[in-house]
């Protein structure tokens, strides 16, 4: 997908981070994906995706406050960077161009 190498799962993670806006950290992202997309996400898979995305510069993160429920550990909140937004738009545009290019007859299954 062009110069932005984003996998399907990574795209979902980024979009979810954007959806959650102010409250995007490990657990919420995981639960949001599970609720919206009806699929289970392991902590491990999500963690690696987040780390990779941050390394690519699509996400940035900052520590929040520690809470008792987290055993005194701080949350790490994620935000989509402008670069990340650009990448997401690029992916969407590519998709749309492809959709538009499909001749209507291709999806007309009644005739065959």
């Amino acid at each position: 997908m062009g110069k932005y190498a984003i996998g399907e799962f990574e795209e979902i993670v980024m979009l979810t981070v954007a959806v959650l806006y102010d409250n995007a950290y490990g657990i919420t992202i995981k639960e949001e994906i599970e609720n919206r997309l009806d699929r289970t996400v392991s902590v491990g898979a999500m963690r690696t995706a987040l780390k990779r995305l941050e390394k690519k510069g699509f996400l940035r993160s900052a520590f929040g406050e520690a809470t008792a429920v987290r055993g005194g550990k701080r949350k790490r909140f994620y935000k989509v960077t402008p670069y990340g937004k650009h990448a997401l738009e690029q992916v969407m545009e590519t998709r749309q161009r492809l959709w538009k290019a499909i001749p209507s007859i291709a999806f007309d299954f009644k005739k065959t």
Binding site: V43, A45, K51, A68, V69, R70, G71, R74
Partner: protein
Amino acid sequence: MTTPSPIVPPQLPLRFLRWFCDPDLLEDVEGDLNELYQRRMSVNPTKARRLYYRDVMLLFRPGIIRNVTFSFTNPSDMLQHHLLTALRHALRYKGYTLLNLLGLIVGITASILLLLWIRDEVSMDQFHTKSDRIYQVWRNMYQSSGEVITTQAIPQPLAFVLDNEYPEIEAVTVLSWSMPLLFRHEEEFSYESGRFASPEFFRIFSFPILLGNPETVLQNPQGVLISESLALKYFGTHWRTEVLDQTFQIDDTQTFAVTGVFQDPGIHSSLQFDWLLPADYFIQQNEWMESWHNGGFNIYFTLRQDADIAAVQSKVTHEINEHTNFAADERLYLQKFAENYLYSTFENGIPTEGRLQYVKILSMVALFILLIACVNYMNLATARAGKRSKEIGLRKTLGAAKRSLSLQFFTESFLLAFLSVIAALLAAKLALPFFNHITGKSLTLDLFHPHVWMGMAGITILTGFLAGSYPALLIPSFPVVNALKGTIKHSEASQLFRNGLVIFQFALSMLLIIGTLVISQQIYYILHKHLGLDKENLIYVDLSGELSRQADSYKTQLQQIPEVKQVTFTSGNPLDYHRSTGSADWQGKDPNESVEINVLNVDTDFFETMGVELLQGRAFSEFMTTDTSHYIINEVTADLIGFDDPIGQDFSIWGNQGKIIGMVRNFHMSSLYEPFEPLVLRYDPRSTSVAFIRTQHNVQAALQGVEKITKKMNPAYPFQYNFLDQTYENTYRNEIALGTLVKIFAAVSMFIACLGLLGLSSYAADQRSKEISVRKVHGAHVLQLMMMLCRKYALLLGIAFVIAAPTAYYCTQQWLDNFVFRIHPDPALFLLAGVMAFLIGMLTISFKSYQAANVNPVQKLRNE
């Protein structure tokens, strides 16, 4: 920090997570997991735990796992520093360093020598390029008694059958036993040992040929191949240009031309020969070889690459039986040639360990000694850790991590190991000639060979790691405050462990000492057992050339030498005699029974000269002309034929009917690994080939007399003689070498263990010096103090003995079981070994204890 949550997640996976997780990620990952766990706990606690485990396992993946680079701030500087302190420390405590180094050097030297020996043993016969496909045929003769006699003498026709009827077999060769033949080239002559071989020999074995065409060299029926050293001997250094087509007269009968020269088989070949002649020539001369009923040459073959040896084995098993109409039960067994050497002993027709046992024993010894040396180091290093507690405490206060401290101790142990290995290499190099002398090998140690370097690196790492592991684990875990105060109390566990190590060391040493005693007793037994004949002061000479033609005259002349007591001519050396027949017959013999009976041809002087005791009947007499068809048997044969009184019974061999006129006491005709064998003596002076000469008074004079007469009568042949007792001793060379080796290495292990004990006891005495002084001031006697210091070690040595004795009993029984004729070691022997080790140990300890107890108490108490 907020207060920790009341609900704590499972610790084990958490610790695992903390260990592997990238520190950058750890905080929020752990937080996430914790939060998840809290939520899940409110739903289903067991499931929450399970999921926690699962999540942690799933997190163990690249991207989450921390980078595995060592994050020393400056590894090379640290290492330099560690080396420096190690060196300083070593130089500061010279005595202690010396003890450690000495132990390690001696231990490693011993291990290097043993490793060389083992490598040499294991590489025997492995140099043939097809060695994984070369097989030898063995013949198992099942006796009616249930015994199985195994031989490599195979009926000659089998070679043709294997060659023609077995598609699985690539090539077959026949090879004779090693025999000395008289080689004569112009003026020079001497006996040379070699073998007859068929042309395929060089297709199977990879003995390098230096001159001549390997395809054709053995095909020329008038050709002989000689070894490089033989070529050098007869044709000088320029043999390469001169040797081809030169002729040898062999055994004074036929002339052979040299068709090629092969490289000497070398020390890694179990097949030894200085010449090869075409097998066909020998077979033509000896027609009996062509029968299925007679054993002949050895047979070797190569299997095709894709063939299955099991199939060939099942097909070949009954080849002899089928071709001889089951005249006797003889089955064939195939064994990989390369395994012959280590699995050389056959038991019930199946190869057993044989030499492999020696390889195993000595491997264990090598390992034991190395272990004992490493244990020394461990013990001394941990015991003396107290001395260094301030250093360790200070390092810790300044922020040294445990890992860095461990590394320091490993650096020390590796440094010492490295130095010891270098010193040991040199020591081994120096000791090698002596070691070769004992083992009868020609081992070499090339200091610059890559294998040696690899081996040495291996030993360094092994020793460094073994020796350093315990101190490196234990010492860094001392509590900082105690360490700084210098009040390190060794924990119960660490003291127990150290005591355990001492016990372990001494148990191993005692094991070796007991082994030594048992082995040397058995060897003494072998060499001094009465064999049924008197083997001392007996010279024997082969009856070759004129000697055989003028046997009577030779005998008379020999008897006239004043130093010669008696002379007898026989058909072979009775102590190593394997010429048997299955044709013996007697009244009442079960026709289906097959028995191999040895047949020895003798003259009338046999019994007196050899000291063989006649139990019943009478000896052969030259005045009774019929005696040539009569027989004298031994006790085993008497049991076999089963008459209450065998004297006067009919007996026949090869169809020659006669009577049994006497019975002799059993004497050993093969090694003490084997039981007595049945024997029949025939009076047939014409068919003898060896002269046995019993000397008296001056052996040298007798020998000179024999030489003079022999050379005069038989000038065309070189004079060769042997002493019977020496020949006998030579057959037990391996056992004697094993005995010497184990003896030396038992001493070495004892020495190293004592070094360790010396170190430990001096340290203990040192630590308790104040206590000793106070006791002394209060009137304690030197002896009492010594007792106090020695008591603990006495107990340890006692325990070591309790462990070592039964183990040693078991091990030595295993070895002794190989022998049919063996000693049954006395329990006192074990006690003796224990007491010896105990005394040596106690002497070592009391040496230091005495010094400690004898010190003037003022000196120790003054500086409080």
